[in-house]
């Protein structure tokens, strides 16, 4: 069976699906998946839905689906995605409306529900996991990572499109594989193999040349038009990764190995709701131009508990920047940082970066910056950041950096400031019996 993935996160390129769908059609059909949920995306979606009950699903849904909906429905390419985010029903209704607007047949859309933890019994579990602090946080969202079973069941029942919220990313691939091959939910080797196929697909172009290039060392052609990945999964659980013809990017063993280990901790125990995948004996072979085969993957019985992410409001993030160029630029930026530190309330824990000299590799406490002899960078941007629950106090960071225009070292320019609400996250696990997941056809839900 063939699966293509045309999005690796919420905010990814939206023009990758067309070539993937054409490739699936040429292969005789398959499944198209979109992965649009990073750890914090769901909380942002929930906040959007709080403001507007019709929203809360992937904001780029139209751009992802509208260009390929007709081809998918005409050629039996099924669509499976977590783009329902905090409002799968809203996303399903929007897709039904898109089909109507385009004069297409009415697609059978299934909605997966149950990931949002909202009942008193579920809150009791969360309180047990986090202790009394759970009652003190300003909760935005609490979601368990669901697995592939509801997706598989909906596809077996004839769904053209499956819209989910928080399901584990690889489950978007495992579900269609279970439905296609008739694999049982305890076929651990096959679920482990499909999970790693899904793992390679779920970040989109990260397996076709994105997030890889180092000019002169690891070159990748055509990154302005990188093909999104496809996978041919065989009944024996081995699979191949490739990309659409006439697209940029690259598929090779180096890239596939990097992505196999991406966001993995113990390679013998990659935990998902469906299975514990084991890639400790994985083998990657290049079997043709832009095509690799992956084998040697195994699986072990799934965990009894599901991972839960809880997002809560975390006060305010204040960020402000100012630039210095030419002689003593780094010294002037360091002096500006010292001035701000001396003037601001010590209750604000400041992070001070010297962009162009030392920034993202440093630590919040400035240990690396303090250990370094000031250098002679000649184009340096000072960045001051702090977080605080008190908005007025957080705002003083912006005001003090802005005041450096006149009061700071010579020649400071280009001040930019931002004050943003912050979302913080907690994680725990919950027994899967406490999270009943369901799926429903849109046509069976009362309007």
């Amino acid at each position: 069976m063939h699966i293509g993935c045309a999005s690796g996160f919420s905010g990814d390129r939206t023009d990758g699906a067309s070539a993937v769908v054409d490739t699936l059609i040429a292969l005789g059909g398959g499944t198209l998946i979109f992965e649009t949920l990073a750890e914090r995306t769901l909380a942002l979606a929930q906040l959007a839905r709080n403001t507007d009950p019709q929203s809360g699903y992937e904001p780029l849904l139209d751009a992802l689906v509208a260009p390929i909906l007709q081809r998918c429905l005409d050629h039996g390419v099924r669509i499976v995605s977590n783009f329902g985010q905090a409002n799968p029903l809203g996303a399903a209704r929007r897709i039904a409306a898109l089909a109507a607007e385009q004069g297409l047949r009415s697609p059978r859309i299934a909605i997966v529900a149950g990931d949002a933890l909202t009942t008193p019994a579920q809150y009791t579990h969360l309180r047990a996991a986090f202790g009394p602090m759970f009652d003190d946080i300003d909760l935005v969202s609490a979601n368990a990572y669901l697995g592939a079973e509801q997706i598989a069941d909906a596809l077996r029942a004839g769904a053209d499109i499956v819209v989910a919220g928080r399901v584990a990313d690889p489950s978007l691939t495992v579900g269609p594989a279970m439905a296609h091959f008739g694999w049982a939910a305890d076929n651990w080797p096959r679920l482990g193999q499909a999970t790693m196929a899904g793992h390679l697909l779920e970040c989109g172009t990260q397996v076709t040349g994105g997030y890889f290039a180092i000019p002169g060392l690891k070159d990748v052609p055509g990154l302005e038009n990188t093909g999104f990945p496809l996978c041919t999964l065989h009944e024996d659980g081995t699979f191949e990764i490739f990309k659409p013809p006439h697209t940029g990017g690259r598929v090779d063993a180096r890239i596939a190995k990097e992505q196999l280990l991406y966001e993995v901790h113990d390679p013998a125990r990659y935990l998902t709701p469906d299975v514990i995948a084991d890639l400790s004996q994985a083998v990657v072979e290049e079997i043709g131009p832009d095509r690799v085969r992956v084998s040697g993957i195994d699986g072990h019985p799934r965990p009894q508990s599901l991972k839960v992410n809880v997002c809560h409001r975390g006060g305010w993030l204040a960020e402000a920047e100012i630039s210095y160029a030419g002689i003593q630029a780094e010294a002037r930026a360091r002096l500006a940082g010292d001035i701000v530190r001396k003037r601001l309330n010590p209750a604000l824990r400041l992070r001070i970066d010297l962009i162009g000299a030392l920034s993202i590799l440093a630590d919040d406490d400035g240990a690396l910056q303090n250990a370094r002899v000031p250098g002679d960078s000649r184009d340096v941007r000072l960045r001051v950041a702090a977080a605080h629950t008190d908005r007025t106090l957080a705002d003083t960071v912006l005001r003090e950096v802005t005041a450096l225009y006149c009061c700071g070292p010579a020649g400071g320019g280009g001040v930019r400031t931002a004050l943003r609400p912050r979302l913080n996250m907690l994680s725990c696990t919950i027994d899967r019996e406490a999270v009943p997941a369901t799926w429903t056809f849109l046509e069976d839900i009362p309007t």
Binding site: Y211, R349, I360, D364, A367
Partner: protein, 126 residues
């Protein structure tokens, strides 16, 4: 017969690497460019050496997992993201750049091997 001479090369001459993150934990893959580089990596890129190399980020624990079938290892660094994607004040809240800190770590290799290792090809300057 003379004893072999050794020189230090940066890790990127022997391996490539990719960073992933979950919460406050960063994982860095280290993948040998060639099978004959793998045993050198196993000897040189140890948990204690990596913890020392990242000391400014104060990892609470470094765990190494070897994957010989990929000629690779996976390094898991806990507590290095200043709280992780939603909590850190760092611009790079995911720690996407951390593998590039690792790739500069010096590794001692026989001089004869060093001459055969890949290096950055720079366009000729006129």
């Amino acid at each position: 017969m003379t004893a072999a001479t050794y020189i230090d090369v940066p890790l990127y001459r022997l391996a490539h690497s990719r960073t992933g993150d979950k919460g406050d934990i960063s994982n860095l893959s280290v993948i040998a460019w060639r099978p004959d580089c793998y045993e050198i990596l196993v000897d040189a890129v140890t948990e204690s050496r990596v913890a020392e190399w990242f000391s400014a980020r104060q990892p609470s624990r470094v765990t190494r997992y070897l994957v010989p079938s990929l000629h690779a290892m996976n390094l898991v660094l806990e507590g290095v993201l200043d709280g992780g994607v939603n909590d850190a004040l760092n611009l790079d809240t995911h720690g996407k750049g951390l593998s590039f800190w690792l790739l500069d770590m010096p590794v001692r290799v026989p001089e004869t091997l060093a001459a055969t290792l890949p290096d950055i090809e720079r366009p000729p300057t006129s």
